[in-house]
């Protein structure tokens, strides 16, 4: 990580801190959705079972949205071009975005998690810190995914199309609505290559079965590989000299 990465991350944090309305929405929107989840699920045992998966999907959704739209905005207002003409490397730009938005994704994750646990009273097993660490990993993946797809999108319309294309299939196939094992075989195959399947599986094992991070090594490895892969792909796609 170079100094430029930290400078870019610092600038992103500065920007969002000065944009009070966005900052408030970052905190309030997860609370509204978590409240809706809390009041709309009638059975407490169903809520306990579904809440971890819903949490994982929401972290993916918010992280993807926040990073994706912001990165695209950087392109449309011309500041990305200005950065690309400066001495910073592509990895510095993508890394700076990852670090900057990760902070806000972590804030959203914490808000969502503590609200569901302490206000909505979702029961869980396992260590709190281990659950949070895993959720942050999902957040890192979401930020990397948001960055990658916003690099691919040329305008806001294309980015908006990526939201249903990337988020909705993962929501249906990750095991939130019904178990992956009960899906048709070809859908199981598809579910098993999507990162959210591992996010939901890992968080369920931590929160419902009280397992440790060491027990969900496969899930952690897949999510980390996705994050690193998407980060590298973003930097490659965001090439200088692109017409």
């Amino acid at each position: 990580m170079s100094g430029s990465t930290l400078v870019i991350a610092g600038r992103i944090i500065n920007q969002l801190v000065r944009d009070r309305r966005t900052l408030i929405l970052i905190v309030v929107v997860p609370l509204v959705i978590a409240s809706l989840v809390g009041v709309s699920v009638p059975d407490k045992s169903i809520l306990d079972y579904t809440a971890p998966a819903i949490m994982a999907v929401l972290i993916l959704f918010f992280g993807f949205l926040l990073t994706g739209i912001s990165f695209l905005r950087e392109r449309s207002q011309g500041t990305l071009e200005r950065l690309m003409a400066s001495p910073v490397s592509r990895l510095d730009i993508v890394g700076g975005y990852l670090l900057g938005f990760l902070l806000f994704t972590i804030v959203q994750t914490m808000v969502l998690f503590f609200y569901l646990i302490y206000v909505i009273k979702v029961n869980y097993y396992g260590d709190l810190w281990q659950i949070l660490v895993f959720q942050v990993l999902i957040g890192i993946g979401a930020v990397c995914m948001g960055t990658f797809f916003s690099v691919l999108a040329k305008n806001e319309f294309q980015m908006v199309q990526f939201i249903p294309m990337i988020i909705v299939p993962q929501t249906f196939l990750c095991g939130l609505l019904w178990p992956v094992s009960q899906m048709p075989e070809y859908l199981q195959w598809l579910a098993n290559v999507l990162p959210m399947t591992y996010g939901v599986s890992g968080i369920r094992e931590l929160m419902l079965q009280g397992q440790d991070l060491l027990d969900i090594g496969k899930e952690i490895a897949v999510l980390a590989a996705y994050a690193v892969g998407l980060l590298i792909l973003s930097a490659i796609t965001l090439r200088r000299g692109k017409g």
Partner: protein, 254 residues
């Protein structure tokens, strides 16, 4: 003062061609810009001025031909030696003027905190925004945004500066202010490459390249280009029309 270790031409372009898809934007373009002058790229919209500047700062990659800026191919390794002011202000809207300039100062490797703070203050004062330094860019007028954008482009005191239509949308007073500042930069040893489609701007440049349809149709000082028309009171506009009518590069002027 800018680095002056390089003694050759500030910019050397040879037989440069560039396409956007099937559309040819630059067609076998060649030019050389000596160091320490203001060099104007003049031409109508669509002449290829912005594309040429984007190639020179390394944002686009040439399909054919060669580009050397300060003797090297444009790349992130040489980017700290160049300043770039895009056509749009391209600033972070939520941040203040001083935060924007400070950010670009850090990105362009002004690492010493004390020197950076001094330079940021100096450059904001130069563009006459010191009173408004804490205002968010969102709350600035168009002219103020242009000035803030200029401050970001020159904060690291680069020897080679690319300014893409820097005076568009400026009132006449501010335009004069900008040109005074540009002339100060060339006196300090910087080379300025300025694109414009107004002949007002052209008259301020030390040398000009008239561009049309991706080609340079004439090169020379404003006086040389005016004289080439053979009319005693020819304006640069007359000269531009003359070269369009007679086609191709005027060898005498070049």
């Amino acid at each position: 003062m800018p680095e002056k270790s390089f003694s050759g031409p500030a910019v050397a372009v040879d037989n440069l061609s560039f396409n956007y898809g099937r559309q040819k934007v630059l067609d076998g373009l060649s030019l050389e810009v000596p160091a320490g002058i203001s060099f104007g790229l003049l031409g109508p919209n669509g002449a290829g001025k912005t594309t040429l500047i984007r190639l020179l700062v390394g944002l686009l990659r040439a399909r054919a031909g060669t580009i050397l800026t300060l003797g090297k191919k444009p790349s992130p390794r040489t980017a700290h030696l160049t300043g770039y002011m895009p056509q749009l202000p391209s600033l972070y809207a939520e941040l203040s003027v001083i935060q924007n300039v400070e950010f670009f100062a850090r990105i362009y490797r002004l690492r010493n905190r004390k020197q950076r703070t001094q330079r940021v203050e100096e450059v904001i004062k130069l563009v006459d925004l010191w009173q408004d330094r804490n205002k968010s860019v969102t709350n600035l007028s168009g002219g103020m945004k242009q000035r803030a954008s200029l401050a970001c482009a020159v904060v690291h005191n680069p020897p080679l500066i690319f300014l893409d239509e820097p005076t568009v949308g400026l009132d006449p007073e501010l335009r004069v202010h900008f040109w005074d500042y540009f002339q100060g930069l060339t006196r300090g040893g910087s080379t300025l490459i300025i694109s414009s489609h107004t002949m007002d701007d052209a008259a301020h440049c030390n040398r000009l390249a008239f561009m049309r349809d991706g080609k340079v149709i004439a090169l020379g000082t404003p006086d040389e280009l005016r004289q080439a028309t053979g009319q005693a009171k020819a304006t640069l506009e007359d000269a531009f029309l003359y070269f369009i009518k007679h086609g191709g590069v005027n060898k005498n002027v070049r």
